[in-house]
Subunit: 210 residues, 2 copies
DNA sequence: TATTTTCCGTTGCAAAAGCAACACATTATG
DNA sequence: CATAATGTGTTGCTTTTGCAACGGAAAATA
């Protein structure tokens, strides 16, 4: 079920076979792209970490998505419904490929190998994205901060195959990701410790239940 | 950007060209499928409406997704992370095509026209799904019930191209969809009326702002 | 290494949301 | 058409969450 398609290797071919400088590198905290002026953009993160963030009118910051190696993002995945600006911020050094919708979904005029391979593997890459989004929705529909935290920890646990794992986020970012107030989340975190559900050592969470 | 691909027409070919009885019809309130025993299932809703619902341990019901014509759903879009049972319930008479992951992502052994056409159009169909999920996430990340309601109304408004539209949900279902308590939502709805943001006549919402 | 910036942890208080219960309306169904 | 089931609208009370503020820890930067 998972992508066996090796993007990195594949990119080696590409750099000669396909046009223009669509590949760019970003440093930490740089803005990779915004979802306002780049209609129909589709991006592939080859390396690094980045977040899609939104600031609403009340100043709340939300981490809408978190991207890592092989993540797809860009405006193609959004309709023009939002009023708030969405922007992708690099959280570490990032290497990103940029395309437009037409580049990818229509045949390349040169019929190059790159585009062929890419379009063969695209459904799988998008499918991975869909499963990520569904997990996200499952978290967000939990009714309480406690359930969101436990749900998130449980996901990390199954993903790392261990009851003990590092948080890939700062706690501040985690709150923005779960869409809750940070101090309220901290309070709940404390209660979870007191109630014997978890242990927290530095950045590491240990699940004590089941 | 939107799907021009006409599924219905396309299905006419299919019924002769492809194997087995993968097409089924369901009546209202019937369970179309569950996300537990049917590993790797992928379904296409040809006609009707259906909801993906989850009941959590506290008895809360959540409408995880709402499907209409041409929606894709099924376990391929989920990883095995959830503990709660997910089930798809028909909200009206539904016609559904059933596949497995392999059926669609690998070439059909018969190399039939049906599978060829489907796999050509699949990226677009999945892309539509992704934009739906992203809208959903945007709603769920809103911090207050008021913002969720206004966000939802705004989506309906842009989708119907009108400030006045029917709710496709009962209010009970809307609460489950926005993942909030029904009575709290009703209260907020009343406040929105009092504050002059909306008018509500029967099942119809009229936006009064901007 | 000194200093600035970000992050963590905590708290009191206010606001929002959830829960439970009920009456009434509307819609299905025998 | 009678009756049951489901949906709407409301309210009092409780619990949870958000907000604002602060001190100290840790990390980044000059």
């Amino acid at each position: 079920m998972n992508t066996n398609f090796d993007l990195e290797n594949f990119i080696l071919d590409f750099s000669n076979s396909c046009q223009k400088k669509q590949k760019k590198v970003f440093g930490k905290n740089e803005v990779v792209t915004t979802y306002i002026k780049n209609r129909n953009q589709l991006c592939i993160l080859l390396d690094g970490h980045a977040d899609l963030v939104r600031y609403d009118l009340n100043g709340n910051r939300t981490i809408v998505e978190h991207f890592s190696k092989n993540s797809l993002f860009g405006e193609v995945f959004y309709t023009i419904t939002t009023n708030n600006e969405l922007l992708v911020e690099a959280k570490s050094n990032c290497t990103v490929l940029f395309y437009t919708y037409d580049d990818i979904f229509h045949k390349c005029r040169n019929n190059c190998k790159f585009h062929q391979t890419l379009s063969e593997n695209l459904p799988q890459l998008i499918l991975n994205k869909v499963t990520d989004l569904n997990m996200r929705i499952e978290l967000l529909t939990k009714r309480s901060t406690r359930d969101k935290l436990l749900g998130y920890f449980s996901l990390r646990s199954t993903r790392t195959l261990s009851k003990s794992f590092e948080l890939p986020f700062s706690l501040t970012d985690l709150a923005d990701y779960l869409s809750v107030d940070r101090s309220a989340m901290m309070r709940e975190l404390k209660l979870l410790k007191e109630d014997g559900f978890i242990e927290k050592i530095g950045n590491r969470i240990i699940l004590l239940y089941k």
